[in-house]
Symmetry: C2
Subunit: 525 residues, 2 copies
């Protein structure tokens, strides 16, 4: 029974406003700034969307007046005995605690994560992409098939998928673009688990049918079986969530080397055949050896991007993971097709893939979001991806300033730009993690910020209480070291507190997470 009409969120709200498109010639420092407001925001319990906000509500007294003005009645407990008229006026109040430096922030969007690889997080040794796939990834993914049954996923799929969804929610990820495995039952299970736990997700069955590259123990039999299995999984997801509000299918050719051209083209055609067209995700130009392999496997294609384009896979609903080593022509093609890039800095650093020129991608008009790329990336946290995006951009800036003066991003003799321009600021990193990601998954009008009519996909963050002069520093107590890894001393501006959260924060700071207004993660401790 619906026990109240609205939830009123009260406290500090921080998000990144959308900017008008930046011109490609922009040479000034990044413009993204935090929007910081204090007040009340209300979410319809039935719809799960933001219905309005009022930044004039300055304090508890003002909140009380505001509730009265709206004709509402605040309640502490669920009004289970209330009659229908009464319920229409009942509101629940959720506060971000000021004394703990609490605030509401849009949920993070992970635009690239391999759910079945989660148990391998942190295990990659000194490998690079192609040997890492052979050594760690394919064996792990293959265990999501069930030798004993063609329709029931193995126990490991339950365990791992429940854990990865719980973990990502605990880190504030309200929406994720998941790669599953080639197995339809396990892929469908992942969709079910996201649906049950309430995480917004795009779930893709992985397609890989090229016998010359894919291992015999883990591949699709042929392009036709790739296609039919993909259709099966799409049908399941459509049945699971006919409105496609929470869970959507996404067509997932692993990457060019693992797919025959026949398969790529059939999958491109499949994406275009549905109404609305189905989203697509794949990898591109992650590693120099991979790029060379693609050139060898597809001698008739002009480029890696062209392999996908000629198969009809570069669409406005396509997510391309990595994009580290694209040529200027490839970037232009991707921009022209309005395809988007998932930047996965942790993974690129861990596997030594290279330095992704994110500013260049943005300058070229390509939409960019962040991906954890578990388990090429070691962490399921998008906040870690924000940190790594900031760091990688500083590496790009250093390199361009000091080591590659004449060759910037493949363009010999390109005009020198300010090295600081390459740098992704904390604010930009957070923009990529929210607004950027929303654009990449095709939901820029529905999630990623606090605007009326957007879903309430949000997290309540507590940075932590002030360090006291007589603090013992012991864990356990609220103000001690145990409850947050971030220390606030009292002089910090909100911008500085946010910087401290980005660099020092973790899942302990995520106190509650909502998707479409539903509480999907919360901790009492």
């Amino acid at each position: 029974m619906l026990s109240y009409a609205y939830t009123v969120y009260y406290g500090t709200f921080i998000h990144l406003p959308r900017l008008p498109d930046e011109p490609a010639t922009l040479t000034s420092p990044p413009k993204h700034r935090l929007s910081i407001n204090h007040g009340a925001l209300w979410v319809s319990q039935a719809e799960g969307k933001i219905e309005g906000f009022d930044w004039e509500v300055k304090n508890e007294h003002g909140l009380k007046k505001f509730i009265e003005k709206m004709g509402w009645k605040a309640e502490d407990k669920k009004g289970e005995d209330s009659d229908k008229d009464e319920v229409r006026k009942l509101v629940r109040i959720v506060k971000a605690r000021k004394e703990r430096n609490g605030f509401f922030f849009p949920g993070f969007i992970d635009t690239h994560i391999h759910a079945p690889q989660y148990p391998n997080s942190g295990i990659f040794g000194s490998s690079t992409l192609l040997d890492w796939l052979e050594t760690y990834t394919f064996p792990m993914e293959s265990s999501f098939g069930n030798k004993d049954s063609p329709i029931i996923p193995p126990p490991t799929a339950h365990t791992v998928y429940n854990r990865v969804v719980a973990r990502t929610l605990s880190h504030g990820t309200t929406c994720a673009a998941y790669y599953a495995t080639i197995h339809v039952p396990a892929t469908n299970l992942l969709a079910n688990i996201c649906h049950t736990r309430g995480q917004r997700a795009l779930v893709g069955r992985v397609c890989m049918d090229d016998p010359t590259i894919c291992p015999s123990y883990y591949r699709d039999d042929c392009a036709a079986s790739s296609l039919s299995a993909t259709k099966e999984s799409i049908a399941h997801i459509h049945a699971l969530d006919p409105s496609q509000t929470l869970i959507r299918p996404i067509i997932t050719p692993r990457f060019a080397p693992s797919c025959t051209h026949t398969s790529l083209s059939q999958l491109g055609a499949l994406a275009a055949s549905t109404s609305p067209p189905t989203a697509i995700q794949t990898h591109i130009s992650e590693n120099v050896n991979e790029v060379a392999l693609v050139a060898e496997l597809f001698p008739d294609s002009k480029s890696y991007a062209d392999v996908y384009d000629s198969a009809g896979l570069l669409t406005p609903r396509t997510i391309l993971a990595h994009a580290v080593h694209l040529s200027p022509d490839e970037r232009a093609l991707i921009a022209k097709r309005s395809s988007a890039v998932s930047h996965c800095p942790a993974s690129n650093s861990a596997l030594g893939s290279g330095f992704c020129p994110v500013r260049q991608l943005l300058d070229d008009g390509i939409a960019v979001g962040l991906g954890t790329d578990v388990s090429g990336g070691w962490s399921p946290s998008v906040l870690e991806a924000v940190r790594q995006a900031c760091l990688v951009s500083r590496h790009v800036a250093f390199r361009d300033e000091n080591e590659k003066k004449d060759v910037i991003n493949g363009e010999a003799g390109a005009e020198r730009k300010s090295p600081n321009r390459e740098k992704i600021s904390v604010e930009e990193g957070l923009y990529l993690a929210t607004r950027g990601g929303a654009g990449v998954v095709g939901m820029q009008d529905a999630i990623g910020g606090f605007e009326v009519e957007m879903w309430w996909d949000a997290q309540m963050v507590e940075i932590g209480g002030l360090v006291e002069g007589n603090d013992s520093g012991e864990g356990g107590d609220e103000g001690g070291c145990g409850s947050s890894n971030v220390d606030v001393f009292g002089w910090e501006s909100w911008e500085e507190k946010i910087a401290k959260w980005v660099w020092g924060g973790d899942d302990r700071n995520v106190r509650a997470v909502w998707v479409a207004g539903r509480l999907v993660h919360g901790r009492d401790c």
Copy 2:
């Protein structure tokens, strides 16, 4: 009253054995391997040192037999009523919980950390070294002086220094080489706090007397006052800990640009004048603009390293932070003087300083440890420094493989080495964080490993319990997401579990920390 003679630690013990010096011509992959033993290790309560270990103690029954064989008596509570003979036989048992994947590991050694900068952690914007000093660092450090008193440190020094020592202990740092500020009272307070809380530390008053570089509001009046204030602080630390077992002074010229040559030479002479000679710490070759500035300020010196060498500051007890942009001649000079390097990868990445060629430093015979470099580095965790050292080495490998084929580390035409050789493995990162650091602070025979006669400077780590098939994934319970950020599924080898800890672990995994046998950090939750 001493209530027991020994503490017997029981469970899994992991450390990095010392290797014989690797020859500079080594081309094979890194040799460092974890040493993993299960059994009992005992520490004399009076001495705080490891007296022995027995890896034949395989289980609880074996432990009981072992205690009997030694003529000891295990007790659960403190035997406060015991007579003296009885006490000699009483032992306390501390176990690392197998079901939580617990193990004992040497305490981390942070070879470079600026304690007063801790409140600025994560706040650096898009700055690089020299503007970062002006904008963030000097104003913060200057607040550790007390305008109202020349002898009493200001309240902020109490708050910050207590917090930074508590925090670093909570991350498993049992020994740290601290930079304080130019203020003697606050520097002495830091030494007192380390002493009281039981953290092994080298504590240095910062010297900076060059009026052309240092800001007027934060500098020593002249070389003479730099020297006398340094002596004052050294005298305090000698009085605090006459045996120098826990707290040692360290002479700390900030870096060449902030010091006159007179000051540098006087500090070099001061270090040599004590018996034993006093340790020295400073920065070298962190940033290309800094390197250019040193060349401009010291036109008569052959190099940055030569500035220090000519002042008598390159000694076997010298810690040089960063060393990112050294020339081959400088590396040879530093190796010849047996000075050591503190590698600070997080800081170098955050401030965009460059890519430190750690393998090259090691190949050249230079001892290397890790530094957090708070707050150029954003984290007080040495485990984070291990991660960043691994990542930076992968950047070096990628760059050398793909972008600088003809110019490797300044040597044109140098023979190509395997790019994988550049990579620091998890095991090597942990070696640098323990054994490497011990060598850098001149205590290689006393800390950094589990050998008889070494101090019991250790941490008990719990990676976390197994993920259960029916796990709810909610925080709070022992097996849930709340107690550890690392997930173990049951199939992992110890090497894989250690990799997971390194990449996913944090202070939550540090359950207890001891220095010289004393419990200095522990959490109940």
